[in-house]
Symmetry: C2
Subunit: 218 residues, 2 copies
DNA sequence: GTCTATAATTCGATAGAC
DNA sequence: GTCTATCGAATTATAGAC
């Protein structure tokens, strides 16, 4: 008798359905980020999500569709800190904030960082187009912001691309190589003191070399 | 009638055998570094090495044995630049040389870098012990070298661990994220001008922030 | 040492009952 | 929407001839 229209406010069924899809995506992120697209099995993902494999394939019609769904949920979050870089800010504020936010992402979304890294290592077959268009334009835009800082003397000369790569590389390293860092330092970013030391040291090295020298410097 | 003793000088048979094993290891590195342990099939590796799958399994009795053989061949090469860091050198020379050598490795052994990264992302199940003992000791030793530089005023204060992580992260990034960098910059490290610009910018950012300020600085 | 043939699993995906 | 049952392909590894 009752018929649910697609545009209706989310009812119990639809909400439960979306919740189940999210549980599947979460489980898929955990396993894809550790074993890769081919290394993670639908059996294992369904098991971790608490659903049957058949049921998983009801919500995501193929393994690759599930993989893409997980990747797309990550991408925007990942580039948001880059988008936030603004010419109006001082380089000290903009770069300092960027470093902190990226280290926070490495702490709170390490699996997402690792899946992104895995996809890059494998040649990013599913993201290549996006990289060559959207990401390239974004980096060009922010490079001009950095060049503006250099032109008005608030940043010492540096190639903007290489600065951006250095910022990406150092901050993501704490998520992607977390095992190595924990084996050596015995700490993780979950430790507040280690987190602060990470942000502070990266910031000091990068900004210490790039901010103009004042007479106060020894 | 003729019997080959194990200690005999390498004859044609033994040389051919070793050459074939090396071809298999090379093919395995190429495919493991792109698809991971589970994602690369012995069929594909044997095919790329130009041998039959059965023959591959004659030389390496299991897939995991082959994987470990490839990993071990990488490890020493990879840590050699760290070992070369010497207290007798000036920090400018030691760190500058380290950056150049690591970027050379990222250029000439990108697949090895990526396989190492893959193994770390997956939790380094086969290297964990080695990390917690050998690598940890190596990093402690080099940290004391860095602390010595700071104590005698030839390096500004910085946490040695975070400096080492930053150097690792930025240099390896050019190998592990080569696809992303090529999509954005349109260049690779194979381009000599891009290679030099990479070394120079990383060096300038890191050393610019860490070397003591002189009166010549503006 | 190298091959063919095949054993023994595992995996992604589908069919069809309920 | 969810389940059981199962197909068909791919994969690691072994057996045995030469």
């Amino acid at each position: 008798m009752t018929s649910i229209t697609p545009a209706a406010p989310i009812g119990n069924r639809a909400a439960a359905s979306e919740a189940r899809k999210q549980r599947i995506r979460d489980a898929a992120l955990a396993l894809f980020s550790q074993f890769g697209l081919r290394g993670a099995s639908l059996d294992a993902i369904a098991d971790q999500a608490g659903v049957s494999k058949t049921n998983l394939l009801y919500y995501f019609p193929s393994k690759e569709k599930l993989y893409v769904a997980v990747l797309q949920q990550i991408l925007d979050t990942w580039l948001e800190p880059v988008r936030a870089i603004d010419a109006e800010q001082s380089p000290e504020t903009a770069i300092g904030d960027y470093i902190r936010i990226k280290v926070e992402l490495s702490r709170d979304h390490a699996q997402a960082s690792r899946l992104f890294c895995l996809e890059m290592i494998q040649g990013a077959p599913l993201l290549r187009e996006d990289l060559q268009s959207n990401l390239r334009l974004l980096v060009e835009e922010k490079s001009r912001v950095i060049e503006g800082w250099i032109a008005r003397g608030s940043l010492r000369p540096v190639d903007p691309h290489h600065l951006i790569y250095l910022l990406w590389g150092t901050t993501q390293h704490y998520a992607d190589f977390a095992v190595q860092i924990e084996a050596i330092s015995g700490r993780t970013l979950a430790d507040p003191a280690f987190f602060e030391a990470t942000v502070e040291n990266i910031t000091r090295i990068v900004l210490g070399g790039l901010l103009p020298r004042t007479n106060a410097d020894s």
